[in-house]
Subunit: 201 residues, 2 copies
Protein backbone atom coordinates (compact mmCIF):
# COMPACT_ATOMS: atom_id res chain seq x y z
CA UNK A 1 0.00 0.00 0.00
CA UNK A 2 1.41 3.39 -0.95
CA UNK A 3 1.96 6.05 1.68
CA UNK A 4 -1.44 7.72 1.92
CA UNK A 5 -1.10 9.47 5.24
CA UNK A 6 1.12 12.43 6.02
CA UNK A 7 3.92 12.88 8.48
CA UNK A 8 3.93 11.17 11.86
CA UNK A 9 0.96 8.85 11.20
CA UNK A 10 2.55 7.44 8.05
CA UNK A 11 5.88 7.06 9.87
CA UNK A 12 4.15 5.05 12.59
CA UNK A 13 2.27 2.89 10.05
CA UNK A 14 5.56 2.20 8.25
CA UNK A 15 7.36 1.23 11.46
CA UNK A 16 4.49 -0.98 12.69
CA UNK A 17 4.40 -2.67 9.28
CA UNK A 18 7.98 -3.91 9.88
CA UNK A 19 6.82 -6.12 12.76
CA UNK A 20 6.19 -9.81 12.06
CA UNK A 21 2.56 -10.65 11.26
CA UNK A 22 1.53 -7.00 10.90
CA UNK A 23 0.32 -6.20 7.40
CA UNK A 24 -0.46 -2.70 6.09
CA UNK A 25 -4.13 -2.87 7.18
CA UNK A 26 -3.25 -3.98 10.73
CA UNK A 27 -0.53 -1.33 10.93
CA UNK A 28 -3.09 1.32 9.97
CA UNK A 29 -5.60 0.00 12.49
CA UNK A 30 -3.01 -0.03 15.30
CA UNK A 31 -1.78 3.46 14.39
CA UNK A 32 -5.31 4.88 14.63
CA UNK A 33 -5.82 3.00 17.88
CA UNK A 34 -2.62 4.63 19.22
CA UNK A 35 -3.99 8.02 18.13
CA UNK A 36 -7.08 7.65 20.25
CA UNK A 37 -5.32 6.01 23.23
CA UNK A 38 -4.36 7.99 26.32
CA UNK A 39 -0.77 9.21 26.10
CA UNK A 40 -0.01 7.51 29.42
CA UNK A 41 -0.94 4.08 27.99
CA UNK A 42 1.17 4.62 24.87
CA UNK A 43 4.10 5.66 27.06
CA UNK A 44 3.85 2.35 28.93
CA UNK A 45 4.32 0.56 25.57
CA UNK A 46 7.19 2.87 24.67
CA UNK A 47 8.83 2.22 28.03
CA UNK A 48 8.38 -1.56 27.66
CA UNK A 49 10.14 -1.42 24.26
CA UNK A 50 13.02 0.65 25.64
CA UNK A 51 13.39 -1.54 28.74
CA UNK A 52 13.57 -4.71 26.65
CA UNK A 53 16.32 -3.25 24.47
CA UNK A 54 18.21 -1.81 27.45
CA UNK A 55 17.95 -4.66 29.91
CA UNK A 56 17.55 -7.90 27.97
CA UNK A 57 20.57 -9.51 26.36
CA UNK A 58 21.52 -13.00 25.26
CA UNK A 59 23.19 -15.37 27.69
CA UNK A 60 26.88 -15.70 26.78
CA UNK A 61 26.78 -19.46 27.52
CA UNK A 62 23.51 -20.75 26.04
CA UNK A 63 22.18 -17.71 24.07
CA UNK A 64 18.87 -17.77 25.90
CA UNK A 65 17.43 -14.35 26.76
CA UNK A 66 18.87 -12.97 29.96
CA UNK A 67 18.86 -9.88 32.14
CA UNK A 68 22.53 -10.34 32.94
CA UNK A 69 25.54 -11.92 31.18
CA UNK A 70 24.37 -15.40 32.17
CA UNK A 71 20.73 -16.51 32.13
CA UNK A 72 18.83 -17.81 35.16
CA UNK A 73 18.96 -21.41 33.89
CA UNK A 74 22.74 -21.40 33.35
CA UNK A 75 23.18 -19.82 36.81
CA UNK A 76 20.93 -22.40 38.58
CA UNK A 77 23.25 -24.86 40.44
CA UNK A 78 20.49 -27.47 40.82
CA UNK A 79 20.27 -28.18 37.09
CA UNK A 80 21.94 -31.17 35.51
CA UNK A 81 25.16 -30.30 33.65
CA UNK A 82 25.28 -33.66 31.90
CA UNK A 83 22.35 -33.02 29.56
CA UNK A 84 22.02 -30.17 27.05
CA UNK A 85 18.82 -29.56 25.13
CA UNK A 86 19.40 -27.79 21.80
CA UNK A 87 16.54 -25.57 20.60
CA UNK A 88 16.05 -23.14 17.74
CA UNK A 89 14.69 -20.19 19.72
CA UNK A 90 14.47 -18.71 23.21
CA UNK A 91 10.68 -19.15 22.91
CA UNK A 92 11.27 -22.93 22.78
CA UNK A 93 13.10 -22.79 26.12
CA UNK A 94 9.98 -21.32 27.70
CA UNK A 95 7.77 -23.99 26.07
CA UNK A 96 9.99 -26.80 27.39
CA UNK A 97 10.31 -25.22 30.85
CA UNK A 98 6.52 -25.23 31.11
CA UNK A 99 6.48 -29.05 30.80
CA UNK A 100 8.69 -29.33 33.95
CA UNK A 101 10.07 -32.51 32.34
CA UNK A 102 13.60 -31.31 31.70
CA UNK A 103 16.15 -30.39 34.36
CA UNK A 104 19.30 -30.06 32.25
CA UNK A 105 20.82 -27.07 30.46
CA UNK A 106 19.88 -25.47 27.13
CA UNK A 107 21.62 -24.25 24.02
CA UNK A 108 19.75 -21.83 21.77
CA UNK A 109 20.86 -22.03 18.13
CA UNK A 110 19.20 -18.77 17.08
CA UNK A 111 17.31 -20.37 14.18
CA UNK A 112 17.71 -23.42 11.98
CA UNK A 113 19.58 -24.33 8.83
CA UNK A 114 17.56 -22.87 5.97
CA UNK A 115 19.42 -22.06 2.75
CA UNK A 116 16.33 -20.26 1.39
CA UNK A 117 16.55 -17.74 4.25
CA UNK A 118 20.33 -17.51 4.04
CA UNK A 119 20.80 -19.47 7.27
CA UNK A 120 23.72 -21.89 7.22
CA UNK A 121 25.51 -23.56 10.17
CA UNK A 122 27.79 -20.51 10.45
CA UNK A 123 24.86 -18.22 11.20
CA UNK A 124 23.79 -20.42 14.13
CA UNK A 125 25.47 -20.83 17.54
CA UNK A 126 26.80 -24.28 16.56
CA UNK A 127 30.48 -23.44 17.02
CA UNK A 128 29.72 -22.30 20.58
CA UNK A 129 27.80 -25.55 21.21
CA UNK A 130 30.79 -27.65 20.13
CA UNK A 131 33.04 -25.55 22.39
CA UNK A 132 30.69 -26.13 25.34
CA UNK A 133 30.83 -29.90 24.79
CA UNK A 134 34.64 -30.01 24.59
CA UNK A 135 35.34 -30.50 28.33
CA UNK A 136 33.49 -33.84 28.44
CA UNK A 137 31.07 -32.98 31.25
CA UNK A 138 28.05 -33.25 28.92
CA UNK A 139 26.94 -36.83 28.21
CA UNK A 140 23.71 -36.37 26.29
CA UNK A 141 22.55 -33.79 23.74
CA UNK A 142 18.79 -33.71 23.14
CA UNK A 143 18.06 -32.10 19.78
CA UNK A 144 14.71 -30.29 20.13
CA UNK A 145 14.60 -28.37 16.86
CA UNK A 146 11.12 -28.13 15.29
CA UNK A 147 9.69 -31.16 13.44
CA UNK A 148 9.80 -29.16 10.17
CA UNK A 149 11.97 -29.80 7.11
CA UNK A 150 14.48 -27.17 8.26
CA UNK A 151 14.41 -28.38 11.87
CA UNK A 152 14.98 -31.97 10.76
CA UNK A 153 17.86 -30.91 8.50
CA UNK A 154 19.42 -29.05 11.41
CA UNK A 155 18.99 -32.11 13.65
CA UNK A 156 20.67 -34.34 11.04
CA UNK A 157 23.53 -31.86 10.66
CA UNK A 158 24.04 -31.67 14.43
CA UNK A 159 23.88 -35.44 14.97
CA UNK A 160 26.57 -36.02 12.29
CA UNK A 161 28.71 -33.40 13.99
CA UNK A 162 28.19 -34.59 17.59
CA UNK A 163 28.05 -38.41 17.33
CA UNK A 164 31.81 -38.70 16.50
CA UNK A 165 32.48 -36.83 19.77
CA UNK A 166 31.25 -39.91 21.67
CA UNK A 167 28.09 -38.26 23.02
CA UNK A 168 24.60 -39.69 23.28
CA UNK A 169 22.54 -37.66 20.81
CA UNK A 170 18.74 -37.93 20.96
CA UNK A 171 15.82 -36.34 19.19
CA UNK A 172 12.39 -35.49 20.62
CA UNK A 173 9.73 -38.08 19.70
CA UNK A 174 7.37 -37.39 16.82
CA UNK A 175 3.87 -38.84 16.95
CA UNK A 176 0.23 -38.10 17.57
CA UNK A 177 -0.39 -35.01 19.69
CA UNK A 178 -2.07 -35.84 23.00
CA UNK A 179 -5.78 -35.12 22.74
CA UNK A 180 -5.55 -35.30 18.95
CA UNK A 181 -7.64 -37.49 16.71
CA UNK A 182 -6.14 -40.27 14.61
CA UNK A 183 -8.55 -39.52 11.80
CA UNK A 184 -7.25 -35.96 11.43
CA UNK A 185 -3.54 -36.71 11.79
CA UNK A 186 -1.54 -36.12 8.60
CA UNK A 187 0.10 -39.21 7.10
CA UNK A 188 3.65 -38.16 8.00
CA UNK A 189 2.75 -37.74 11.69
CA UNK A 190 0.81 -41.00 11.70
CA UNK A 191 3.76 -42.76 10.00
CA UNK A 192 6.09 -41.38 12.68
CA UNK A 193 3.71 -42.60 15.40
CA UNK A 194 3.94 -46.14 13.96
CA UNK A 195 7.70 -45.95 13.62
CA UNK A 196 8.11 -44.78 17.21
CA UNK A 197 5.57 -47.17 18.75
CA UNK A 198 6.37 -48.43 22.23
CA UNK A 199 5.86 -51.92 23.66
CA UNK A 200 3.37 -51.96 26.52
CA UNK A 201 4.30 -54.14 29.46
CA UNK B 1 -2.26 -17.00 28.67
CA UNK B 2 -0.72 -16.56 32.08
CA UNK B 3 2.46 -14.54 32.51
CA UNK B 4 5.18 -17.04 31.74
CA UNK B 5 8.10 -14.72 31.09
CA UNK B 6 9.90 -12.60 33.61
CA UNK B 7 10.37 -8.88 33.87
CA UNK B 8 10.77 -6.67 30.81
CA UNK B 9 9.82 -9.33 28.22
CA UNK B 10 6.52 -10.07 29.97
CA UNK B 11 5.84 -6.33 30.31
CA UNK B 12 6.36 -5.89 26.59
CA UNK B 13 4.15 -8.89 25.74
CA UNK B 14 1.42 -7.49 28.01
CA UNK B 15 1.60 -4.03 26.42
CA UNK B 16 1.64 -5.40 22.86
CA UNK B 17 -1.35 -7.60 23.73
CA UNK B 18 -3.40 -4.44 24.37
CA UNK B 19 -3.19 -3.42 20.71
CA UNK B 20 -6.14 -4.26 18.46
CA UNK B 21 -5.78 -7.53 16.56
CA UNK B 22 -2.74 -8.66 18.56
CA UNK B 23 -3.43 -11.86 20.53
CA UNK B 24 -1.08 -13.38 23.12
CA UNK B 25 0.79 -15.50 20.52
CA UNK B 26 1.38 -12.53 18.18
CA UNK B 27 2.45 -10.39 21.14
CA UNK B 28 5.01 -13.03 22.10
CA UNK B 29 6.25 -13.31 18.52
CA UNK B 30 6.62 -9.54 18.17
CA UNK B 31 8.36 -9.27 21.56
CA UNK B 32 10.97 -11.86 20.53
CA UNK B 33 11.36 -10.13 17.19
CA UNK B 34 12.04 -6.86 19.06
CA UNK B 35 14.63 -8.69 21.17
CA UNK B 36 16.63 -9.71 18.15
CA UNK B 37 16.16 -6.44 16.25
CA UNK B 38 18.89 -3.76 16.18
CA UNK B 39 18.30 -1.17 18.90
CA UNK B 40 18.37 1.58 16.26
CA UNK B 41 15.36 0.04 14.45
CA UNK B 42 13.39 -0.34 17.67
CA UNK B 43 14.15 3.29 18.53
CA UNK B 44 12.63 4.36 15.19
CA UNK B 45 9.38 2.65 16.24
CA UNK B 46 9.59 4.22 19.71
CA UNK B 47 10.14 7.63 18.15
CA UNK B 48 7.21 7.15 15.73
CA UNK B 49 4.93 6.33 18.68
CA UNK B 50 6.08 9.37 20.65
CA UNK B 51 5.80 11.69 17.63
CA UNK B 52 2.24 10.60 16.92
CA UNK B 53 1.19 11.27 20.52
CA UNK B 54 3.06 14.59 20.66
CA UNK B 55 2.21 16.03 17.27
CA UNK B 56 -1.12 14.59 16.16
CA UNK B 57 -4.34 15.92 17.62
CA UNK B 58 -7.95 16.01 16.54
CA UNK B 59 -9.25 18.93 14.48
CA UNK B 60 -11.39 21.17 16.69
CA UNK B 61 -13.88 21.66 13.85
CA UNK B 62 -14.35 18.24 12.23
CA UNK B 63 -12.45 15.87 14.61
CA UNK B 64 -10.30 14.53 11.78
CA UNK B 65 -6.65 13.89 12.73
CA UNK B 66 -4.56 17.01 12.45
CA UNK B 67 -1.07 18.30 13.13
CA UNK B 68 -2.47 21.67 14.24
CA UNK B 69 -5.73 22.86 15.82
CA UNK B 70 -7.49 22.72 12.45
CA UNK B 71 -6.96 19.92 9.91
CA UNK B 72 -5.72 20.46 6.36
CA UNK B 73 -9.20 19.82 4.89
CA UNK B 74 -10.92 22.37 7.16
CA UNK B 75 -8.14 24.89 6.33
CA UNK B 76 -8.40 24.39 2.55
CA UNK B 77 -10.29 27.43 1.11
CA UNK B 78 -11.05 25.62 -2.17
CA UNK B 79 -13.37 23.09 -0.55
CA UNK B 80 -17.14 23.41 -0.66
CA UNK B 81 -18.63 24.67 2.64
CA UNK B 82 -22.17 23.73 1.58
CA UNK B 83 -21.67 19.94 1.84
CA UNK B 84 -20.57 18.01 4.93
CA UNK B 85 -19.81 14.29 4.79
CA UNK B 86 -20.32 12.57 8.15
CA UNK B 87 -18.07 9.54 8.79
CA UNK B 88 -17.41 7.26 11.74
CA UNK B 89 -13.62 7.42 11.75
CA UNK B 90 -10.65 9.45 10.53
CA UNK B 91 -9.66 6.37 8.48
CA UNK B 92 -12.88 6.84 6.49
CA UNK B 93 -11.84 10.39 5.55
CA UNK B 94 -8.68 8.97 3.97
CA UNK B 95 -10.72 6.31 2.10
CA UNK B 96 -13.09 8.94 0.69
CA UNK B 97 -10.27 11.36 -0.16
CA UNK B 98 -8.68 8.62 -2.26
CA UNK B 99 -11.77 8.50 -4.51
CA UNK B 100 -11.30 12.22 -5.40
CA UNK B 101 -15.11 12.34 -5.74
CA UNK B 102 -15.86 14.60 -2.82
CA UNK B 103 -14.83 18.25 -2.47
CA UNK B 104 -16.85 19.27 0.59
CA UNK B 105 -16.01 19.20 4.30
CA UNK B 106 -16.06 16.30 6.75
CA UNK B 107 -17.33 15.60 10.22
CA UNK B 108 -15.84 12.65 12.11
CA UNK B 109 -18.24 11.17 14.69
CA UNK B 110 -15.59 9.12 16.49
CA UNK B 111 -17.53 5.86 16.21
CA UNK B 112 -21.15 4.84 15.76
CA UNK B 113 -24.15 4.27 18.00
CA UNK B 114 -23.65 0.85 19.55
CA UNK B 115 -25.34 0.18 22.91
CA UNK B 116 -23.41 -3.11 23.25
CA UNK B 117 -20.13 -1.17 23.28
CA UNK B 118 -21.54 1.58 25.47
CA UNK B 119 -21.61 4.08 22.58
CA UNK B 120 -24.67 6.32 22.57
CA UNK B 121 -25.20 9.64 20.74
CA UNK B 122 -23.58 11.51 23.65
CA UNK B 123 -20.28 9.66 23.15
CA UNK B 124 -20.11 10.79 19.51
CA UNK B 125 -19.41 14.28 18.14
CA UNK B 126 -23.07 14.76 17.22
CA UNK B 127 -23.63 17.85 19.36
CA UNK B 128 -20.69 19.51 17.61
CA UNK B 129 -22.15 18.54 14.22
CA UNK B 130 -25.47 20.18 15.05
CA UNK B 131 -23.60 23.30 16.22
CA UNK B 132 -21.67 23.42 12.92
CA UNK B 133 -24.90 23.25 10.94
CA UNK B 134 -26.58 26.06 12.94
CA UNK B 135 -25.37 29.00 10.83
CA UNK B 136 -27.21 27.77 7.72
CA UNK B 137 -24.20 27.71 5.35
CA UNK B 138 -24.39 23.90 5.00
CA UNK B 139 -27.08 22.69 2.57
CA UNK B 140 -26.42 18.95 2.34
CA UNK B 141 -25.23 16.39 4.85
CA UNK B 142 -24.01 13.11 3.33
CA UNK B 143 -24.14 10.33 5.93
CA UNK B 144 -21.26 7.98 5.16
CA UNK B 145 -21.35 5.72 8.21
CA UNK B 146 -20.59 2.05 7.51
CA UNK B 147 -23.29 -0.15 5.94
CA UNK B 148 -23.41 -2.24 9.15
CA UNK B 149 -26.27 -2.53 11.66
CA UNK B 150 -24.63 0.07 13.93
CA UNK B 151 -23.76 2.36 11.01
CA UNK B 152 -27.31 2.18 9.69
CA UNK B 153 -28.73 2.88 13.15
CA UNK B 154 -26.44 5.91 13.42
CA UNK B 155 -27.56 7.09 9.97
CA UNK B 156 -31.22 6.77 10.95
CA UNK B 157 -30.61 8.64 14.20
CA UNK B 158 -28.80 11.46 12.37
CA UNK B 159 -31.38 11.78 9.60
CA UNK B 160 -34.20 12.13 12.17
CA UNK B 161 -32.17 14.80 13.93
CA UNK B 162 -31.12 16.74 10.83
CA UNK B 163 -34.13 16.58 8.49
CA UNK B 164 -36.23 18.91 10.73
CA UNK B 165 -33.43 21.49 10.33
CA UNK B 166 -34.43 21.85 6.65
CA UNK B 167 -31.23 20.28 5.29
CA UNK B 168 -30.85 17.81 2.46
CA UNK B 169 -29.68 14.59 4.12
CA UNK B 170 -28.34 11.78 1.91
CA UNK B 171 -26.85 8.35 2.47
CA UNK B 172 -24.15 6.63 0.39
CA UNK B 173 -25.58 4.09 -2.06
CA UNK B 174 -25.54 0.40 -1.16
CA UNK B 175 -25.24 -2.18 -3.94
CA UNK B 176 -22.93 -4.57 -5.70
CA UNK B 177 -19.23 -3.74 -5.30
CA UNK B 178 -17.58 -2.88 -8.63
CA UNK B 179 -15.66 -5.91 -9.91
CA UNK B 180 -17.81 -8.16 -7.70
CA UNK B 181 -19.79 -11.16 -8.82
CA UNK B 182 -23.59 -11.30 -8.60
CA UNK B 183 -23.44 -14.96 -7.70
CA UNK B 184 -21.37 -14.30 -4.61
CA UNK B 185 -23.24 -11.22 -3.37
CA UNK B 186 -25.15 -11.76 -0.12
CA UNK B 187 -28.92 -11.40 -0.36
CA UNK B 188 -29.05 -8.13 1.60
CA UNK B 189 -26.55 -6.46 -0.73
CA UNK B 190 -28.31 -7.85 -3.79
CA UNK B 191 -31.66 -6.66 -2.40
CA UNK B 192 -30.19 -3.17 -1.90
CA UNK B 193 -28.85 -3.23 -5.46
CA UNK B 194 -32.39 -3.89 -6.75
CA UNK B 195 -33.89 -1.24 -4.51
CA UNK B 196 -31.38 1.35 -5.64
CA UNK B 197 -31.45 0.45 -9.36
CA UNK B 198 -30.99 3.36 -11.75
CA UNK B 199 -32.78 3.97 -15.07
CA UNK B 200 -30.36 3.92 -18.02
CA UNK B 201 -30.94 6.61 -20.63
Amino acid sequence: MAAIYDGPIQDLITELGQLPGIGPKSAQRIAFHILSTEKEDVMRLVDALVQVKDRIHFCTTCFNVSEGDTCSICRDPRRDNAVVCVVEDAKDVVAIERTREFRGRYHVLGGCISPVNGMGPDQLHIRELVARLADGSVQEVIIATNPTIEGEATATYLSRLLLPMGLTVSRLASGLPVGGDLEYADEVTLGRAFEGRRALS
